[in-house]
Every structure is written in structure tokens, then in C-alpha cells.
């Protein structure tokens, strides 16, 4: 029993022990079994959570390796927000002469079933931007919410995004969504969207 107590202490604070001490304890088959049971216990609770219905509560931004960033015309982020938005965006770097298709359309609620967050939002209020430039999205927002747009960084116009916009949501919420993207910086000040 003393050994199990020692194992419990070591698993909580392995940094307090030398490599030799850790290896010695784990070379004992019985202690190893107990350790594996602890790993399984954590996995078991995690499985329970996975099986429970859930929704992303906070925006999640990807961290990206340098190698990934060097790849032209590739996706660099995905964002989910409060079950109403699913977005990815790609940054088109200089030298890419292709002109990607731009499309703005009303979302088909059955499209990508199982991949989008389940939402209670009225599907008719959702608009989907696929590979659309930021300036196109901001123009839509400008027309819809009756605000103006100022670009303090001209390059930001051409950041390409995949995103869903719940037209029933307040503009500030959309601004926050857009700011979830690593390369997008927009602010709402006095009925004006400022893109930097």
C-alpha cells in the first residue's frame, strides 16, 4: 500500500523525482499496472464527457506551426463560436495568380450535417461565406447593419474567410467572431467598422 501511495505522489508531482526514481517505480510490474489503471480512469471519465451532449462555449483559435504558415493559399484557422458559427479562413499570399471562386449564399441547413455545431438558431438567418474576401463580408455587414467600413490596412481586404453569419446576432458579436481569426483585426467604433 505504501508503494501505491508513492505512485500517487509521483504521478501528481513527477517533477519532484529524479528520472531514476521514476524508472525504478515503473519497472515494478504491479506499480505499472496501477499507473495504467489511473490512465484508464482518466480516459474513462473523458469518454463519458465525450458522450454527453455538448457545445463549444468559447472561440477556439488554432495555433499554427511556421511550416504551415509558409504554405501559400492554405487554410490557417478554424473557429467555432457558441454553436452559431463555423468558420475557416485562408490567407491568399502574393503570387497566387489563381482567382478562387467567391460565393455568398444562404446556408443549406442540411449541408455538412454532422460537421457543423448543432444550433438552435433559425437556419434561415444564417448566411454562409465561402472563401469570401473580408471586404466582401464587411460590405455585407455594412449594408445590413447600416454602418460604414474603414480599412486602415488595405491588405486586410483580401483575407479570405469561410464563415457563417447569423444575421439575427448583434453586430458586436459578429465583430468578436471575426476577431477570433488570427489575421483579422476589426473594431466597431461609433457605427463604423475599422479593419486594421
Amino acid at each position: 500500500m505504501k508503494d501505491i501511495e508513492q505512485l500517487l505522489k509521483m504521478t501528481e508531482r513527477p517533477q519532484d523525482y529524479t528520472d531514476e526514481e521514476l524508472q525504478k517505480l515503473m519497472s515494478d510490474p504491479e506499480m505499472r499496472e496501477y499507473y495504467e489503471l489511473m490512465v484508464s480512469a482518466e480516459a474513462g471519465f473523458a469518454l463519458r464527457k465525450d458522450e454527453a451532449p455538448k457545445a463549444e462555449k468559447r472561440p477556439m483559435i488554432l495555433s499554427l506551426g511556421n511550416r504551415f504558415m509558409r504554405i501559400a493559399a492554405m487554410f490557417i484557422g478554424v473557429l467555432m463560436l457558441s454553436g452559431i458559427a463555423f468558420a475557416a479562413y485562408r490567407l491568399v499570399v502574393g503570387g497566387d495568380s489563381e482567382s478562387p471562386t467567391q460565393e455568398v449564399r444562404t446556408a443549406n441547413p442540411t449541408q455538412q450535417a454532422g460537421t457543423l455545431q448543432q444550433t438552435q438558431t433559425d437556419p434561415n438567418s444564417i448566411r454562409t461565406f465561402e472563401n469570401a474576401e473580408l471586404q466582401q463580408i464587411l460590405q455585407e455587414l455594412s449594408d445590413y447593419y447600416h454602418v460604414s467600413v474603414e480599412y486602415r490596412n488595405e491588405q486586410s481586404r483580401h483575407i479570405r474567410l469561410y464563415t457563417k453569419w447569423d444575421t439575427a446576432a448583434p453586430l458586436q458579436q459578429i465583430i468578436e467572431l471575426l476577431n477570433g481569426f488570427e489575421k483579422v483585426s476589426v473594431r466597431l467604433i461609433d457605427n463604423q467598422i475599422i479593419a486594421e
Binding site: M1, I4, E5, L8, M10, T11, E12, P14, Q15, D19, L22, Q23, M26, P29, R32, E33, Y34, Y35, E36, L37, M38, V39, S40, A41, E42, A43, G44, F45, A46, L47, R48, L62, S63, L64, G65, R67, F68, I71, A73, M74, F75, V78, M80, F86, A88, R90, E98, P100, T101, Q112, T115, N131, Y162
Partner: protein, 165 residues
């Protein structure tokens, strides 16, 4: 070329979150999980990873899983213990039967442990509290926390000996 891009983009939208969840699950490190999944898409974009025409999603998941296992294999015992990863090189949740075994283990614990042992067990392995925090939460000594966890592990070992897998 643009069709290929479009295909990759669609896969990205469809699969990214699932791939990331799996990588997080396996590596127990968000940054490494992100890097692993991003690296797979980077290789896809470069053309060094070619997807089969049939079930590319499944192929992507397997690729991420294998890359996670590659990362885990080079971790030291200390690093694995810090993340509470298995010391075996197999993914402990890769098979359905193993997932069932793990789920059954928790059900068994809930059914058979004393109320207090279950609570301590849950606070440790579900909520991941420190022993001191568990003691404070339940108003018991740290020694009692060890005793409850020792009892819990002993009961689980009797019923679910991991070496019998």
C-alpha cells in the same frame, strides 16, 4: 489545382475538429495536438501526403493517430507521467473493445465504490484536482485521500487487470 484546393478545404472544414479532438485526446497537449493536425494539412497542401479517393476522412484520422503515436513513442517516462499517458506505445482507446472496457471500469467504480471513495476518485481522475485540493474540498486529511485512492485502485485492479488486455 483549384479543385484539389477546394477538396482539401472541404476536408479541412469537415474533419479538422475531429482530428484535433483525437490528437488532444491522445497527446494531452493542446499545442502538440494543433501542430500535429496542422502538419498533416501542410503535407497535404505540399503534395507529400496523398489521400485515397475512397474515404479520405478515415485516412486523415488514421494519419493523425499514427503521428500522435510517433510523438508519444519518443516521450520519456517522466513526460508521459506528467501528461498521464500510458507507458505502453499502444493507443489505449484505439479499439472499440478497449473503450468499452474503460467505460465499464468507470461504471463499475460508480456502482461499487463507497460514496466517499467514488467522490475522491472522481475528483482526482475526472476533475483532476490535486490531493490537497480534494482534501480541502471534502474536509478530510490528505492521508485519507491517499487511502481512498489506494482502495479504488486496488478494487479496479482486482476487476480490471490491465495486463490481461
Amino acid at each position: 489545382m483549384s479543385d484539389v484546393k477546394t477538396d482539401i478545404e472541404q476536408l479541412y472544414i469537415d474533419c479538422y475538429q475531429r482530428m484535433l479532438n483525437m490528437a488532444r485526446w491522445m497527446l494531452k497537449n493542446d499545442d502538440e495536438a494543433s501542430d500535429t493536425v496542422s502538419d498533416v494539412f501542410a503535407r497535404l497542401a505540399e503534395g507529400s501526403l496523398v489521400l485515397p479517393e475512397e474515404r479520405p476522412e478515415g485516412y486523415l484520422m488514421v494519419t493523425v493517430r499514427n503521428r500522435c503515436l510517433d510523438r508519444i513513442r519518443i516521450l520519456t517516462i517522466r513526460e508521459r507521467m506528467e501528461r498521464r499517458l500510458s507507458l505502453s506505445d499502444n493507443d489505449p482507446t484505439s479499439s472499440e473493445s478497449e473503450r468499452e472496457r474503460i467505460a465499464e471500469m468507470i461504471d463499475y467504480a460508480e456502482r461499487t465504490f463507497s460514496k466517499q471513495t467514488w467522490r475522491v476518485f472522481q475528483l482526482r481522475f475526472d476533475e483532476e484536482l490535486l490531493y490537497r485540493e480534494i482534501a480541502e474540498r471534502l474536509g478530510i486529511s490528505e492521508v485519507s485521500v491517499y487511502k481512498h485512492l489506494t482502495e479504488a485502485l486496488r478494487l479496479l485492479k482486482e476487476k480490471f487487470n490491465p495486463t490481461r488486455r
